[in-house]
């Protein structure tokens, strides 16, 4: 069998073609958003929002609404609850995030366990790239387009918000609104991605591509190109691997992303890090 055959053969199946389109679209949207998330320091927030949408998906299934509607509702609910718990001033923000998202995720798992369903709702938890239906793909394409257009149009404002919110305020922009926009796009993106890789692994696609790109360039405009390219390559490689090795599709994609990040990190370690990046929050390491 030739290499071309190896590459083409899987796509004799419609489900594989759909999986390919899905992973390419999801990879691009998540990677572009991840560039801002890693710079604002919202990795934990990405984890939170993507887990918190689970009960929304189950409830949407119950009433026959599109998954995206329920997921988006719970994504925003999670963000609101986190803000409310934090603003009581009784717990720190990371604790507020941890409490809210695990509670909502647990609520989702409880609902999954009691709702009798034809489709396996566990697929929402762990993802089922190979089982994306035509309707779901349409949903993914529409939401992805909305998120991408918003990100591209407001990319300069979002970058300024991430870099220097004080200056943003000083020239009459509204940092709080830009933060809210980023959160809203995060919630929508979580919905786009969860059907591909599942609630548990969405956060990987929301962090790893941006982190990898940040190792490869010192210009944000280039990060915005490198992150989606790397992410798409990993997505496609992961999909092939899962086809030929018969492994879990979403997990294979994420594993590929993680391996590529590790390789890039090893290669780039020789370059002097920027001042400030050498500081380690861990009690071991450089001793700085």
């Amino acid at each position: 069998m030739s290499l071309v055959d190896l590459l083409v053969e899987p796509f004799a199946f419609t489900f594989m073609t759909r999986a390919l389109v899905t992973i390419v679209v999801v990879s691009v949207v998540c990677a572009v958003l991840s560039c801002w998330l890693v710079l604002v320091g919202w990795s934990l927030m990405g984890d939170a929002v993507s887990h918190a949408v689970l009960p929304g998906v189950v409830l949407a299934y119950l009433v026959g609404a599109p998954f995206a509607v329920g997921a988006a509702a719970f994504g925003f609910l999670a963000v609101g609850l986190i803000g409310a718990v934090r603003d009581t001033g009784r717990v720190k923000e990371d604790a507020a995030i941890g409490i809210v998202f695990t509670t909502l995720f647990a609520l989702g798992l409880v609902l999954v366990s009691v709702v009798p369903s034809q489709t396996d709702l566990n697929h929402v938890v762990f993802g089922n790239l190979l089982g994306v239906s035509a309707d779901e793909l349409t949903q993914i394409l529409v939401l992805a387009a909305v998120v991408l257009v918003a990100l591209v149009l407001k990319r300069r404002d979002l970058t300024l918000y991430a870099f220097d919110p004080t200056h943003a305020a000083a020239i009459g922009l509204r940092p709080r609104r830009l933060g809210a926009l980023l959160l809203a796009l995060l919630a929508l993106t979580a919905v786009v991605a969860l059907q591909a890789v599942g609630v548990v692994l969405v956060v990987a696609l929301l962090i790893i591509p941006g982190a990898t790109a940040s190792l490869l360039t010192e210009r944000f405009s280039r990060m915005l190109l490198i992150a989606p390219v790397v992410s798409v390559v990993c997505g496609v490689v992961g999909l092939y691997a899962s086809y030929y090795l018969d492994t879990a599709s979403g997990a294979s994609v994420v594993l590929t992303q993680g391996i590529v990040f590790a390789l890039v990190l090893l290669v780039r370690r020789r370059r002097p890090a920027l001042p400030g990046r050498t500081r380690s929050p861990l009690p071991v390491g450089t001793g700085a």
């Binding site: 407001k154 404002d157 970058t159 200056h167 020239i171 210009r219 400030g276």
Partner: protein, 242 residues
């Protein structure tokens, strides 16, 4: 018209009173130094001028306008303390200076020829043209400060607020910044500098405000910097303010 007019302003953070009945007015073309210890309210007064903190009482106007309107018109240029900046952020000097142009740009902030020219001119004024494409973390302390001054210049702000501009800066940069700010003032800009570092002030500031939650003294720099006056703001160790 008065460039910065702060009248009887009080600001508190919870139970902590940060400013208590502060009145300061600065005319266009003047360089005014805010002098006081850490926690004396310098940063809060900056925030009040930018409209970034709610006032318990009093009013602030910038060129006769509310801080919110002044911000939207790009009148206020802010140069942050070095500690307040994420120097690992993947932006080049030129990108940061372009941020000063955002207030003059449209919905997507796409740079036009006039914006690029303003950025180039600002970079030339602070002598960073050769380093324009360098990542901001790869600059020296003095160069970093000049990059942010260039951002305020590109913005064409008529009121410049500089927070501790001489901290961590070498002597040549300090001299160059002083000359640059004097030139901007001569061209009609108003400059407000907050500092607890006094040695550079006589060459820079026309007037100084001694701040300790309230205005202790506001007058010509030389008068304000007399040891007996500094003792009011810094305690008995006047002159070795820190």
């Amino acid at each position: 018209m008065t460039a910065i007019d702060v009248r009887d302003v009080a600001v508190s953070y919870g139970p902590v009173l940060a400013l208590d009945g502060v009145s300061v007015s600065v005319e266009p073309g003047r360089v005014c130094a805010l002098v006081g210890m850490n926690g004396s309210g310098k940063s809060t007064l900056f925030k009040a001028v930018m409209g970034a903190v709610p006032l318990d009482r009093g009013t602030v106007t910038v060129h006769g306008e509310s801080p919110a309107r002044a911000r939207r018109r790009g009148l206020v240029g802010y140069v942050p303390q070095s500690e307040a900046v994420d120097w690992t952020f993947p932006l080049a000097v030129r990108d940061v200076v372009m941020h000063g142009r955002y207030v003059h740009q449209g919905f997507t902030r796409r740079p036009r020829a006039v914006d690029r020219e303003a950025v180039d001119a600002a970079l030339a004024q602070v002598e960073l043209t050769d380093l324009a494409d360098r990542q901001i973390g790869r600059l020296s302390g003095g160069q970093r400060k000049r990059a942010f001054v260039a951002r305020a210049l590109a913005q064409d702000a008529s009121v410049l607020l500089l927070d501790e501009p001489f901290a961590g800066v070498d002597k040549p940069t300090e001299t160059a910044l002083t000359e640059l700010l004097r030139r901007r003032a001569a061209a009609g800009a108003t400059v407000l500098v907050s500092t607890h570092d006094l040695h550079a002030l006589p060459g820079l500031a026309d007037e100084a405000v001694l701040l300790m939650r309230r205005v202790l003294l506001h007058g010509p720099t030389r008068d304000v910097l007399r040891p007996e006056n500094l003792a009011l703001a810094f305690g008995l160790d006047a002159g070795v303010a820190s």
